[in-house]
């Protein structure tokens, strides 16, 4: 893979009419297999600073895998991924450092079960960034305040509702001051009445200029907060467009089919 600068790749130029912002995440011809299954087929995606990209698609389309690959929780076979111009390292300390810059919010929250809410948020800043405890706690409390769970700071994750846990997970990622945040179906494990409290936090994050890649089934959020919708099917990016264009005027038959299934129920 020659290292032509991301801006020179054909896909980046194609994206350039959508975003003239400096690219934070560049996914460049990435391929991945699970055994015989080709889960990511030559994926190209450029996400600029402050962009909010929502990835939609039927289940099994590879959108979660793409999200996890950007953080290298999944390996890939060919192509490259650049975060802020740096290629993802293979393993070790360099990868850990790069991951510190990429926030990740999981479907199943994954708060550290043996640590309090406050400790969950301060662990990364103290251990991975070497901040002192007092500063980390001060910042953590601000973030917990921002996501509305500051009163719960001394409780353990299991004592919180799903919606509260997910908001803590967002605060935990924010505490690392990430360059980009990945959301892997953040509301799929939540009871319906708790979905909005999480989406509200995400919407305000999007408004504040955070660069976000969101895998979700929440069409309302996509319309409201996304700069761009990326539609995936069978491991490929089938089309990408602004939310209005995508929802009202999808080009591909697979996207039309997908939309007809989810918008009519």
């Amino acid at each position: 893979m020659d290292d032509s600068t991301p801006a020179m790749t054909p896909d980046a130029t194609r994206d350039a009419d959508r975003t003239t912002r400096e690219p934070v995440v560049v996914v460049d011809h990435v391929n991945k297999h699970f055994g015989d299954l080709h889960v990511l087929k030559d994926i190209n995606l450029t996400v600029g600073k402050g962009d909010v990209v929502v990835v939609l698609g039927p289940s099994g389309s590879g959108k979660s895998t793409l999200c996890r690959t950007i953080n290298r929780l999944e390996t890939f076979e060919s192509g490259q991924i650049l975060i802020d111009g740096q290629p993802l390292p293979e393993e070790g300390k360099a990868l850990a450092q790069l991951r510190a810059d990429v926030g990740m919010v999981f479907q199943s929250f994954n708060l550290f079960a043996h640590k309090t809410i406050l400790q969950n948020v301060t662990l990364g800043p103290i251990k991975a960034r070497g901040q002192n405890k007092a500063a980390a706690e001060k910042r953590a409390l601000e973030l917990l305040e921002r996501v509305g769970v500051a009163q719960q700071k001394d409780k353990y994750p299991a004592q919180l509702s799903g919606g509260q846990q997910q908001r803590v997970a967002i605060a935990r990622s924010l505490a690392m001051d990430p360059k980009v945040m990945l959301f892997d179906e953040p509301t799929s494990a939540l009871d319906p009445e708790m979905i909005n409290e999480v989406l509200d936090v995400m919407t305000s994050l999007a408004k504040s200029g955070m660069t976000m890649i969101v895998v979700t089934h929440e069409m309302g959020f996509a319309r409201r907060a996304a700069d761009r919708v990326v539609f995936m099917a069978d491991g490929e990016i089938v089309e990408q467009n602004t939310p209005e264009e995508f929802f009202t005027n999808a080009q591909s038959s697979r996207a039309k089919d997908f939309l007809s299934k989810i918008l009519t129920h």
Binding site: A96, M104, L123, K127, P157
Partner: protein
């Protein structure tokens, strides 16, 4: 019964049993943790070396290990820690007990690791912790809690297995029991009772403590 206590230093013999137990518990916990980390590490060579350790020592009779420690290490190879033979035997008994029980500690810890959901490790990595930090801060603290009950079982087994050290002449309680049986066969029942009750006193609190701890420290999910 009083006669026995007057004639033999039963407390000293139990003292030796406790000494063997405490040091072998510490040794096996340290070695077992290292081997367990090898077995759960992402490096193939370490995994295989860890599995080899467990399979070798878990499947070797303890008596054989202790006698081998005495004969091979001290007599044949001359690895001696002390001029005092009795002291040397105690040290080698502790080493053999540690090495043997480390295999069980490793498996107890590994079962504890398996109680920790994959997502915990992924979350730890995603906030930028290194492999070592993820282990120390997230995985092992939860794994230890999940492993308390099997670790307690191993500790109880270890306490009773210290009796094997008598095979190389360590003056712990089962050695003394043999002496008492030989010279005071008129008091057989009291002799057995004293030793049996002594072990119950040593091991029962371990069981109660680990049950208490595993309830108290259980990771709520």
């Amino acid at each position: 019964m009083g006669e026995l206590f007057a004639q033999y230093n039963i407390f000293a013999a139990f003292g030796m049993t406790i000494l063997l137990t405490v040091f072998a518990a510490i040794g096996s916990l340290v070695i077992g943790t290292v081997v367990a980390i090898m077995r759960v590490s992402p490096v193939g060579v370490f995994q295989r070396a860890g599995a080899f350790y467990v399979n070798t020592f878990r499947n070797t009779p303890l008596t054989l290990l202790i006698i081998a420690a005495n004969i091979v290490m001290i007599v044949n190879l001359g690895f001696s820690f002390s001029e005092d033979i009795a002291r040397d035997n105690i040290i080698w008994a502790i080493i053999a007990l540690s090495v043997y029980h480390a295999a069980f500690v490793c498996e107890a810890l590994r079962s504890g690791v398996n109680t920790v959901p994959v997502g915990q490790a992924e979350a730890a990595r995603s906030i930028g912790l290194t492999f070592g930090q993820s282990l120390r801060e997230v995985l092992l603290p939860q794994a230890f809690r999940g492993a308390i009950t099997p670790l307690g079982n191993t500790l109880i087994a270890l306490t009773k297995n210290t009796t094997v050290a008598t095979a190389i002449g360590v003056a712990e309680i089962s050695g003394l029991m043999k002496q008492m049986i030989e010279f005071r066969s008129d008091l057989l029942l009291p002799i057995f009772l004293i030793v049996a009750i002594g072990f119950v006193i040593l091991t029962l609190p371990v069981g109660i403590l680990t049950t208490y701890l595993s309830n108290r420290l259980a990771v709520k999910r």
